[in-house]
Each structure stands twice: as C-alpha cells, then as structure tokens.
C-alpha cells in the first residue's frame, strides 16, 4: 500500500521529522479557506501516487486566498499520466504547503533489502532527481548502509552515511537525528520504503522533508490497523476488492491489460499460466489465484469476477490439484456457467491432480472437456480470444 505525499508527511511529522506546514483540500473552497487561514507563499501539489506530477502540471504556486483558486481548479480532477502508466491517475486532493527557501537538495531513503534481509539506507547529495538515474550515472554519489535490525539505529550510522554521501558537515548532526526518526517511522509503520526526495537544506541551514514517498507492507497493517483506512482511490480496484471480499488475499487478483481471463491455484502456477498464454501469442486479462483448497463457492465467485471484466474474451482455468479438489472446482465452474454469466464456448479448462476423475466426470456431464496440459490450454484459450 502506497501513501500519498500528505499521508507520508503526517507520519513524518508525528515522528518529529521537520516538514513544511501544510493542509489537504479536496475542493476549491477548502483550498481558499486554507489560504485564508494561512496566508503565505505556498505550493499546491496534486496528491497522486504516480510519478512525474511536476512535469504534468500537478505542482503550482500561490500566495493568498485569491490566487489559490486557479491552481486548485486546474489540479483537482486533473488526470496525471507518465510513460509507464499512460492511463494515469486522477488527482482527487491537493496539498497546500508553505514554501521553503531551499539552498540544497539531498536524497534519503530506507528500504527493505531482500538479499541482506536488512533495512538499507541510501543517501546522496544529489537530491531532487530520479534516484535510479543517479544510481546509474553517478553510482559513487550514493552512500548505502545496511542496518542490523538487532542493533537498530545508532547515531554513528547517520554520521557515517552523511560522510560517505558527502553531505555538508554542518548538517551531520541534524541528519543523524532525522535519520533516526525516519528509521522509527520505517519500523513502526511496517514500511517497505520511506523516501525523502528532496530532503532540503533551507537557506538558514535546517533540514526539512520537501516530499514523502512511503510504501507500507500490506501484511504489516495488522500491526497498524489505523493506517489501512488511509488507502486511496489509486490503490483500490473494484474487482480486487471483490476478490478480497470473497476471502482471497491482497495479491490474489491482479488486473492486467489483455483479453484472456485466467484462473489457477497457487501463485507460481498462475504466473506460469500467464507466461504460457503470452508465449502462445495471447494477452492475459488478469492474474487470479484461488489459493489452496478452494471450495465450489469460491471457484464460482472467481469465475464471476474474472468474466465481469468487459475486456475478457476467453477464460482459461488451470488447476493442478494438491489440496484443491477437482470436483469442487468443477462444481463451482458449473454453477457459474449455470447462472448465465459466461458461456462454455469461451472456456478452456485443464484439471489435474486430486479428484481429477470426479471433476472431469462432472464437467463432461455439462459438456465440457478438460485439456491435458497447460501449454495446450494456453493455445486454445488464445485462439478463442481472437
């Protein structure tokens, strides 16, 4: 789960990390009221998860209640897109914060480093730029430190990172203290990433978090349930919500761009099925993993979820039964077809493993033949979608 800038800054401020004073608005009237209450040179920033909002016109300036109207009108409801996500995201909220006189921009983040199984701190004196670009062009400009979680944060770490990132000496102590607070946010919020880019040094030599990018671990929300309610439009998806309601996990349904609907049991098998469809020249419409041991009711709902995506032209069900029983899968599928939501002519099923005979018999009674292998099924499903 990713947080909007203002949500991230709220977490930062709670932990004592300096952030510019600001307020969130979702209407022009709210924006005017905010500027009336806090009349100061301010920045109006689109609250979206997508990158590149600056280039897209999602950041504007104002200095009083009158001249906030134009920027607020322009940004609220704006669709912001980038190369990776051409469909983009609508800005439903703006964050109005007081402008800061910036002398220099730094970069600072903490992320989960999978290989070392530790949090990794990254810092650079080259802030305000895309960090992956900096990492590629100036690898020496980025200091990295992997923290022993058993030790936790100790201030020598901040001083060491500051020195190795060639940050100005005058701010080392401030930096070490801020980094300690950021580590606190990282751990207590169960974050996969906390990033401040830019971390600004103001003209009077103070550090302040000019931006906030926070990605939380979905599984960690059981420890911070109040944060789960911060989920925003960009993070939700009606079909995914329906899958969750049906009892599936956060990652069991993923919407994709293609036209071949896919259902399978087990993440690895479903991924393999997607790949097989792609190799057969098709495009998967989704990823749907019914998990282990699914009953007929869940299978039925899975079929309904996938086929309610209007882009879906054919459906490929790929089951390798371990705990999952073939007869339950067959029952659920037959129920879904009976309710009229989908036609068996646009369906390919491969059913093997536990209770495969019982399942196939049920299917045969409904006039459905199961294919033998995943590759065969993929080819047929792709052909049906043409």
């Amino acid at each position: 789960m990713r947080l909007l800038e203002y949500q991230g800054k709220t977490l930062f401020a709670q932990a004592g990390i300096p952030t510019p004073p600001g307020h969130v608005a979702s209407t022009v009237e709210e924006a005017v009221a905010i500027m009336r209450a806090y009349p100061a040179p301010s920045v109006v920033k689109a609250q979206v998860l997508i990158g590149g909002r600056g280039k897209a016109g999602g950041i504007k300036f104002c200095s009083n209640a009158d001249d906030v109207v134009e920027p607020a009108k322009a940004i609220l409801g704006m669709r912001i897109a980038n190369a990776q996500n051409p469909e983009g995201e609508i800005a439903h909220r703006i964050w109005i914060e007081q402008r800061v006189d910036i002398a220099k921009e730094l970069y600072l983040s903490i992320a989960v480093d999978r290989a070392s199984k530790r949090p990794i701190i990254m810092a650079s004196a080259m802030g305000g730029m895309d960090v992956e670009e900096v990492a590629e062009k100036h690898p020496e400009a980025i200091a990295r430190y992997r923290i022993d979680p058993a030790m936790g944060y100790s201030s020598f770490v901040g001083r060491r990172v500051a020195r190795e990132a060639k940050l100005p000496k005058e701010i080392w102590n401030q930096f070490a203290s801020l980094l300690g607070k950021l580590y606190e946010v990282f751990f207590s919020a169960g974050a996969m990433l906390v990033e401040i880019n830019p971390l600004a040094i103001t003209k009077d030599g103070k550090l302040i978090a000019s931006d906030a990018k926070v990605e939380l671990d979905d599984n960690g929300l059981i420890r911070r349930p109040e944060l789960a309610s911060w989920k925003t439009e960009a993070e939700t998806d009606p079909l995914k919500e329906r899958a969750i309601k049906a009892g599936l996990g956060e990652n069991n349904y993923v919407q994709l761009d293609g036209d071949v609907g896919i259902i399978g049991n087990g993440a690895g098998l479903v991924m393999g099925t997607l790949d097989a469809v792609k190799q057969a020249g098709g495009n998967p419409a989704n990823f749907l993993d019914i998990g282990g041991g699914a009953q007929a009711a869940l299978m039925r709902e899975a079929v309904n979820i996938v086929t309610s995506n209007p882009k879906v032209k054919s459906l490929f069900i790929n089951i390798f039964g371990g705990i999952t029983r073939g007869d339950e899968v067959a029952k659920g599928l037959i129920q879904a077809l009976a309710s009229g939501g989908w036609s068996k002519d646009k369906l390919v099923i491969r059913l093997t493993g536990t209770n495969e005979k019982e399942g196939r018999a049920l299917l045969a009674a409904s006039g459905i033949t199961s294919v033998e292998t995943m590759n065969e099924g993929a080819r047929k499903a792709v052909a049906l979608a043409k």
């Binding site: 999978r114 992956e132 058993a150 671990d217 990652n251 069991n252 994709l256 991924m271 590759n375």
Partner: protein
C-alpha cells in the same frame, strides 16, 4: 540421500489443533513422516487424532526429541512461533504461514543463530520423496531419485515435479523456499547443501520475478560454490512492472527483479532456462548426459 530432511527427522506441528495444522499433520503422517506431536499453547496434555499436544516447543522437544517444526500459526503470531522454535533449539523450522508482516520476519531472522535453519515463510515446505514430508506438498506427485529441486513457488513446483516424475526422473529433496520478500533460506543456501549431498546429481531451480535470488545463485555457480548440473525456470516473465504477482515477493520494482536480469545471469553461467515447465525433463536429461 537428501538435504535438510530424512527418515530420521522427528517432526512437530506448531498450531496442530488448528484446521490447517491438523489436516496437514495427518497428510504428513500418512506420507510416512515421523510426526511426533504438536504444539498449541494451553492445550498441552490433550491428544488429537493420535497426536500428542504440548504447550510449548521446548516441552515438545524435551519429551519427543523433535528436531523439525512445521508452523501453521496465524500471521500475527507466526514470527513468535518461529522464535519459539529457534529458542527451543529446533534445527529446521518450516514456516508455512502466508501474510506475516515483513518486519516481523526481518527482526526474527536477525536474531536467530546459525544452529537453526528457517525455511519460508509463505512456503510449501520440504519433501524428501519416499522418506519424509514436512509441509503441504502433494506427496503422490513426487518420486525418489537424484535430482534436487528448489523453488520460490508451490504449485509451479508440483507442475514441474509432475513432468519430472512422469518422465522417470526422481527427486532427492525438493525445497519450497517461499514467495515472500524476506525468507529464511534462499537458493544459495540450498545449492550449497545440494553440492555436499552425494544423493543429488543435478538441481532444478524454480525462480520467479522479483528480488535477486536467481542472480545470487548464478554468482555462486560462477565462483564454483556449486558445480553440479543445474536447470532453471523463471515464472512471471510476462508480468508488467510494479504489479505484485500473487507472491508478496514477486514484483519488479524499477530496474530490480526483472526476468531479463535473471535470464542473463543464468545464461552467463550456462544454466539452461526452460520456457515452459514441460521442457524441464528434457533439459535435465541433457544436463545429466
């Protein structure tokens, strides 16, 4: 021969009175595993379906000599269960639970010493075909033999093993290392164990997008830490960037975790990568020839 698990392993189930725990305890016992009991705090002294229940792992270990534990405990309590098993001196801790907070695992793994190997979480467990099953794998698919298998995924494993078995290729040990971003045992650990195992002639590596575990495995092969023939598969090659594919760990973020990087790494060390699970048996046969 095998790694991690064999006929002499004494296995307990943490969370044995839960629905999942009890179901799989029965399946493990039916497979022939020496399942010596289970743990559910507060229910010690009971017997469920023939399994002795203990209040804690230390007690279970003292009374049964257990050296392996399989954990079926709900996510909020699972890291505590892993720590309990390690604290009690359990040698091999297999955590099946899916949905454990990443930071819980980071903290637990940081303090567990070298005497305990943690496998998972969010994994299907370990099987040494014909000897013992410690996990949730469908035992009937497997067949004893000399090919080791390591996998980040459960069902992709069954699919691949099914092809191996149907083609007469048996397995020494199959380890499901789990689909989470932070896991106790990675490919490199298993390869080092298979390298030393005289019962393993070749290894199948079942990877997927996300992280750099496959690249690390290739590095190990490059520096001759693993010298037996290996064959690989990589799931999720068609997945778009930034989308999490079922497994919490299967995600391409920025330039990291891409299939291209993994394919390039395996190509560098001349490990053939199958396009489809059905291609694995012929690649294994070629590698062993």
């Amino acid at each position: 021969m095998s790694i991690y698990l064999d006929k002499t392993s004494k296995v307990i189930v943490q969370g044995i009175t839960g629905r999942e725990g009890l179901y799989h305890a029965n399946r493990m016992r039916a497979y022939g595993t020496d399942l010596v009991g289970g743990v559910t705090p507060g229910k010690g002294g009971q017997t469920v379906e023939g399994f002795a229940v203990f209040d804690g792992v230390a007690e279970a270990r003292d009374k049964t000599g257990a050296d392996v534990s399989v954990i079926f405990v709900p996510p909020p309590f699972a890291a505590d269960a892993v720590l309990e098993a390690a604290d009690a001196g359990i040698r091999l801790v297999i955590c099946i639970t899916e949905g454990i907070p990443v930071h819980d695992m980071i903290r637990a793994l940081a303090v567990i010493g070298p005497k305990t190997r943690v496998i998972g979480p969010n994994c299907p467990g370990v099987i040494t075909p014909g000897a013992a099953l410690a996990g949730i794998m469908p035992g009937h698919v497997f067949k004893p033999g000399k090919v080791g298998l390591i996998s980040r995924s459960g069902t992709a494993t069954y699919e691949i093993v099914d092809h191996l078995t149907r083609n007469g290729i048996g397995q020494s040990t199959c380890v499901g290392i789990g689909g989470d971003p932070i896991i106790g045992t990675v490919f490199v650990d298993c390869l080092e164990a298979f390298e030393k195992d005289p019962g393993t002639d070749a290894v199948v590596i079942v990877g997927e997008i996300g992280g750099s575990d496959e690249e690390d495995a290739a590095d190990l092969i490059e520096r001759r830490g693993f010298t037996k023939p290996a064959v690989a598969f990589i799931g999720g090659r068609s997945a778009p960037k930034g989308k999490r594919m079922g497994h919490a760990g299967a995600i391409i973020s920025g330039n990291s975790g891409t299939p291209e990087s993994k394919l390039a790494a395996f190509a560098r060390v001349k490990v053939p990568v199958a396009d489809s699970p059905s291609d694995i048996p012929s690649l294994v046969q070629k590698a062993l020839a």
